[in-house]
């Protein structure tokens, strides 16, 4: 069975600093996608970044980047120059290419300290 594990229930980072959120997953599939979603207090689920497993290059979206280690089944999210608006729950998620459903980790609550 596919699983997604986020081992950090909560993290804090000083404003303008860099923080890395960890995620590991387990799958026997070779073709899949990985995502990071952000859920602010408004509870809207917002896609932050996505990565195709067949791509070796790490995805980047402005201040957000991932470190994708396929062999280790690791998919961490790095947030540079943290801003107060980055405070939210962050969910790591996995989807096999042949499947419609997304499997979510339990989330990491990120606090930004002014």
């Amino acid at each position: 069975a596919q699983t997604v594990t986020q081992s950090q229930p909560e993290m804090s980072v000083q404003e303008a600093e860099t923080v890395t959120l960890s995620c590991t997953y387990d799958t026997s599939e070779s073709d899949y996608y990985l995502f990071w979603y952000k859920q602010p207090p408004s509870r809207q689920m917002i896609l932050v970044i996505r990565q195709e497993a067949y791509k070796q290059q790490n995805a980047t979206e402005n201040r957000f980047s991932v470190n994708f280690q396929k062999a280790a089944k690791s998919f961490s999210l790095k947030i540079s120059d943290s801003q107060l608006g980055d405070a939210a729950m962050y969910f790591c998620a996995y989807r096999a290419n042949r499947d419609d459903k997304i499997i979510f980790g339990k989330g990491t609550r990120l606090h930004i300290l002014p």
Binding site: L47, R50, D100, F104
Partner: protein
């Protein structure tokens, strides 16, 4: 323009009642989903519909019945509500695999917070 919308955003009701949550998407997607987020923030898929056909039906009590009148709508009807049904319910949509560059990405609605008293 709202891409995926849900109504209502908040729903408070008594045990035993029947209620519906509506979902609409204007993204031209042909696959829609319902997820449940419990009090510990854990998100889990409940149903998936593709072109009005049920594709995924996870282990969900049969008191929950999704209904898709067309590709743009997927409503969730819940019978005989129980205390444990209290949660936030998210609708999402995506393209079918292979039809567009971002078919893997699901877009979520704002959620409906259901409270059963």
């Amino acid at each position: 323009d709202t891409a995926v919308s849900q109504t209502p955003k908040y729903l408070v009701t008594q045990m035993g009642n029947d209620k519906s949550i509506k979902c609409e998407q204007n993204l031209g997607h042909d696959t829609m989903y319902w997820y449940k987020q419990d009090s510990k923030k854990f998100l889990k898929i409940m149903f998936s519909y593709n072109n009005k056909e049920l594709i995924i039906n996870e282990t969900v009590p049969n008191r929950f019945s999704p209904k898709s009148p067309d590709k743009a709508h997927l409503n969730l009807h819940i019978n005989s509500l129980e205390l444990g049904d209290s949660a936030v319910y998210f609708c999402a949509s995506s393209h079918s695999p292979g039809l567009a560059p971002d078919t893997d990405t699901q877009y979520f609605g704002p959620g409906t917070r259901l409270t059963v008293l």
